[in-house]
Amino acid sequence: MAFTNEQLERYSRHIILSEVGVKGQKQLLQSKVLIIGAGGLGAPAALYLAAAGVGTIGIADADSVDLSNLQRQVIHTTPDVGKAKTQSAKETMEAINPDITVNTYHTFVTARNIPELIAGYDFIIDGTDNFPAKFLINDACVLAKKPFSHAGIIRFKGQLLTYAPDKGPCYRCVFKEPPPPEAVPTCRQAGVIGAMGGVIGSLQAMEAIKYIIGKGELLTGYLLTYDALKMEFRKIKLPGNDSCPVCGKNPSILEPFDYEQTACDLKGGH
């Protein structure tokens, strides 16, 4: 694969970097990343990965664009209200970079479809907003040996961790199971600063890029937390957990399963 002058210009700021170069840019163009959730986290992640020339980007979301989304979901615009989020996201990504292929999955992600969904991708980004989905993505990725970036945002706070096969701990090592509905607030009830999705979703994109080009240290074994009001980032070391039911020594979870979702979660799209 030889670069055209146009591609050299488009990706020049990448190719100049010794950690990326021609090789890294080719790796990006040949890579496949799946983003689950085209919302506050998924929108910035999708924009940066598209701009970076990640060759194939999958985007899964069952929702349509709502006016209340536009405060943070920067991949959608006002004329997109009412449109499927996957379609709106695809149009924006292709407008940024016609080099890439965008696959859309206008569907709920469930235990039934997730193995097939993630199978063709190199890296998964969890941009969902509810615990059942986050646990489902964790379990499915651990079982399928897929690296992924988990994240959550609420109010002025955000956090993320990266899992790579055999480089645990996974999300379930830290949080055993979803809290009961309404026990801890989600961003729909609690609110969130739109830029928080930009900060954390961009970090997720950065993890995907580092994984693809194989440079630097991934956020495996750590939870990175961000408190915007205190303007404080903390990289917290996570203990290992041999008794984890999905990635531990004697796993009891052998295939993905769905937790029951609340009516509120379902209404929101996941």
Partner: protein, 68 residues
Amino acid sequence: MKLTVSGNVKEYAGGLTVRKLLELEQVETPEYVTVSVNDEFIPTGDFDTAALSDGDSVEFLYFMGGGR
């Protein structure tokens, strides 16, 4: 005794359990907080009995559900 709690070194009275520290630090919904002490997870069921000693490093890890 000195404890490092969420990265900050602070002075505490001796004889503290994880449960008591969660109360002192006014941690919300402590039953849904993951606690690690010196790079080891403390099972939720052990919060009442897990004693903290001078020099321990404690982290509270919170559920964060939002994303869209």
